[in-house]
Amino acid sequence: MSKARAVFAVLLPGIGSAVAVTVYVILLLAVESQAAIAALLVAGVIVVLAAARFGGMARIGRSFAERENAMNLVIVLAVLAVTGFFYEDHFVLLLMATVIIYVIACLGLNLQFGYAGTLNFAGAAFFGVGCYTAAVLTKHTAMPHLLILVAGGVMAAVIGSLLILPVLRTRSHYSAVVTIAFALLFKIFLEVNDTLGGPQGLPVDGMNVLGWEFNDNIEIGEDFEVAFYVNYIVVGLIVLALAFTFVRRLERSWVGLNLDALRLDETAAACFGLNITRWKITAFTLGNFLTGVAGALYAMMLGFIAPTNFTFGDSLILVSIILLGGIGNPWGLVVATTILIILPEKLQVIQEYRFLLFGAMVILILLFRPEGLLPRPLRTYLPGWQPK
């Protein structure tokens, strides 16, 4: 009984904040008037700052740290709640699905950059590999679409392996240029290569699982219908949950330790037997796999892809998300992605200026808060575990 109360006491701040954020997000997505949106944003910032100032953040953090699984569940429910609220608003749901998919992709980059320290400036390119794989497979094969998601990831990992040798042999700046060169190479290749649609791009079939058409609005009863993006939000959430758990467990294991060790000091790591090559390849490949899976899902949702989806600029946005969120912190990714995707869409006034603003924002973060919005905490191998 009292134990239950204790648990509840721990959970309360977390759940409370989750509910608050949910309501806030719904408001933000619902209101149209620019003034109202601006006001909401200002209010949000103030509240967050205040909470941080008076230790609210710490309490919320505690709920997440100690009752992790419970809180994860709460978050999922919150997302579903927002989805339910906008069940027929195609555009809002498209935004939400996009956010979810981008988070998956960024989890991949986070493995590479956040843990292993290999900065990959070709994120959008590997995302694109996933997209094009989906496009080709849906058109020319009868492969089950859930498998196509995997195929997208595998393809990205395979193509990524072309870069492994140069990335391994080179160090920071030099390996950065390798990925940059690949990012540009990839886009130009798509543009000049006709079999993949050239600059025109390719149509992609919508997802279809066991005859369920993801790209048709869902009809319930006579005149009640749910926008088809809900399908993708659900699938997206499932994939995200898997990816998230995967990355989390990786970080909280000896593997995560190895990656941190080699990122922070390769020489020292080598002197304690770490096989640098093995772990760099592992992180790079797994990362690309996740990014590719996200790409495949994205392509099927959008129904159409073109090289302009996968420019160097897009890769930069992915990297900015990692940095803004707090390098190596999965939750940071979620927050950062939400901000970077939703804000410009809602605040139409900044829509046209978004790249400018993102750029400026990242610069400021690098100068004044390089650890990002949600700095990565120390590793806890087993959540809730206490030494006896």
Partner: protein
């Protein structure tokens, strides 16, 4: 699949009708209509011209006391990129308050978005894109187009050029469907008319340096360089031809009939040929009226070549809504019915849709850049022989 989608459309269209009839009680109910065009990027001048013209149509209608509804124009940018276009189209289509829209200058975008409009049952009229398949590549009832296609354009171009006595061509085209289409049709017609194509070069739409391609063309030494693409690379190609001392005549498509091309190329534009469907604005039946009104509104940018079509498309949409009420399905059917006896009058002349919703006006205008203006060939000093084209 199509069938299912249709039911959906029917369902929410009906729901919509209900909602509106109840709303229609008070004086002037609001009705939303959409416009999509390239408002940023290399072809933005055309997009903005079109946007202003559509906006003009709406303003005039709202100023008209007899109008049943008060219209609001929702403007979206497709950046002339297919993927962005799809998002914009989804945004419009998903917004049930939007009854109809005038959409797209870039063929590459239009050809990819028609599926979306069909999916959401949003009736649209294309105001600038010229790729035939946009109307002929499908049998979507939602898709219409007031301007002609590149087929007529290139047929006229080929006949005219061979008529002038040109024999050999080199073709540069961007690798979008737009450029490819032009390449396809022009090659077809020019060879039919006895011309010879020495070489064809696909280029990417953001390529900077063409010296390699042009150097190769130089060695082929054609009389004419045909360019199937849009203004930005048109400007670059013209400039770099000069650098490499190419003496050939440059012949463009509707894609370069823009003031930006003239500004971008400066004196080098002199003597460049281009072809466009539809008569030049000032020569249109209602052209004078249109330009007067346009200038009266004091827009900062010119209507550009396709402004008149955007105006026509939007006016046609508004007329239809006035006639059948703000209901996507009804508007769609009414538009499909604008044909033969019911052909509509417009500032661009009669609008007469065929089974595919393609306006069957086939007038093509030949332009030549003269003293920094796109001059109709017949009134140009070139036609009169006072100035000479190149490559002869």
């Amino acid at each position: 699949m199509t069938a299912i989608r249709f039911r959906h459309v029917a369902v929410f269209a009906a729901a919509l009708a209900l909602g509106l009839s109840s709303a229609a009680v008070d004086a002037k109910p609001k009705v939303k209509v959409g416009f999509i065009g390239p408002l940023s990027g290399g072809t933005s001048s055309n997009g903005i011209g079109g946007r202003n013209s559509a906006d003009l149509a709406v303003r005039l209608r709202n100023a008209d006391a007899k109008a049943k509804y008060e219209y609001e124009l929702i403007v979206l940018d497709d950046e002339c990129k297919p993927n962005i276009g799809v998002l914009a189209a989804t945004k419009l289509g998903a917004n049930k308050d939007v009854i109809a829209a005038a959409t797209h200058y870039c063929s590459a975008v239009a050809i990819t978005t028609v599926d979306v409009y069909h999916k959401f049952g949003l009736p649209i009229i294309v105001w600038g894109a010229v790729l035939p398949d946009i109307t002929y590549g499908n049998n979507y009832k939602e898709v219409h187009r007031v301007n002609g296609t590149m087929i007529n354009q290139n047929e006229t171009a080929a006949k005219f050029m061979t008529g002038l006595g040109y024999k050999t061509w080199a073709i540069i085209h961007d690798t979008t469907d737009y450029g490819k289409g032009h390449n396809k049709y022009f090659s077809k017609f020019v060879t039919e008319n006895g011309g010879k194509i020495l070489g064809t070069f696909g280029v990417t739409s953001d390529q900077q340096d063409f010296s390699a391609e042009l150097t190769k063309i130089k060695s082929l030494n054609p009389q004419v360089i045909y360019f199937g693409g849009l203004t930005p690379i048109g400007v670059r190609i013209r400039a770099q031809m000069e650098k490499l001392g190419l003496k050939a005549q440059l012949e463009g498509t509707s894609g370069i009939v823009s003031d930006t091309f003239l500004k971008g190329s400066g004196p080098l534009a002199e003597g460049v040929l281009a072809f466009r469907e539809g008569a030049p604005t000032e020569k249109l039946p209602g052209g004078k009226f249109f330009l007067e009104q346009y200038n009266k509104q004091g827009y900062s940018d010119p209507p550009e070549a396709y402004g008149a079509f955007a105006f026509t498309a939007m006016t046609l949409i508004l007329d239809t809504i006035e006639a059948v009420g703000p209901d996507r399905k009804k508007v769609r059917d009414a538009l499909n019915n604008v044909r033969g006896a019911n052909a509509a009058d417009s500032i661009t002349g009669k609008v007469d849709f065929d089974d595919n919703g393609q306006n069957t006006i086939a007038v093509i205008t030949k332009y030549v850049a003269q003293d920094g203006k796109w001059t109709v060939w017949e009134d140009s000093e070139y036609a009169k022989g006072l100035r000479k084209l190149k490559g002869m």
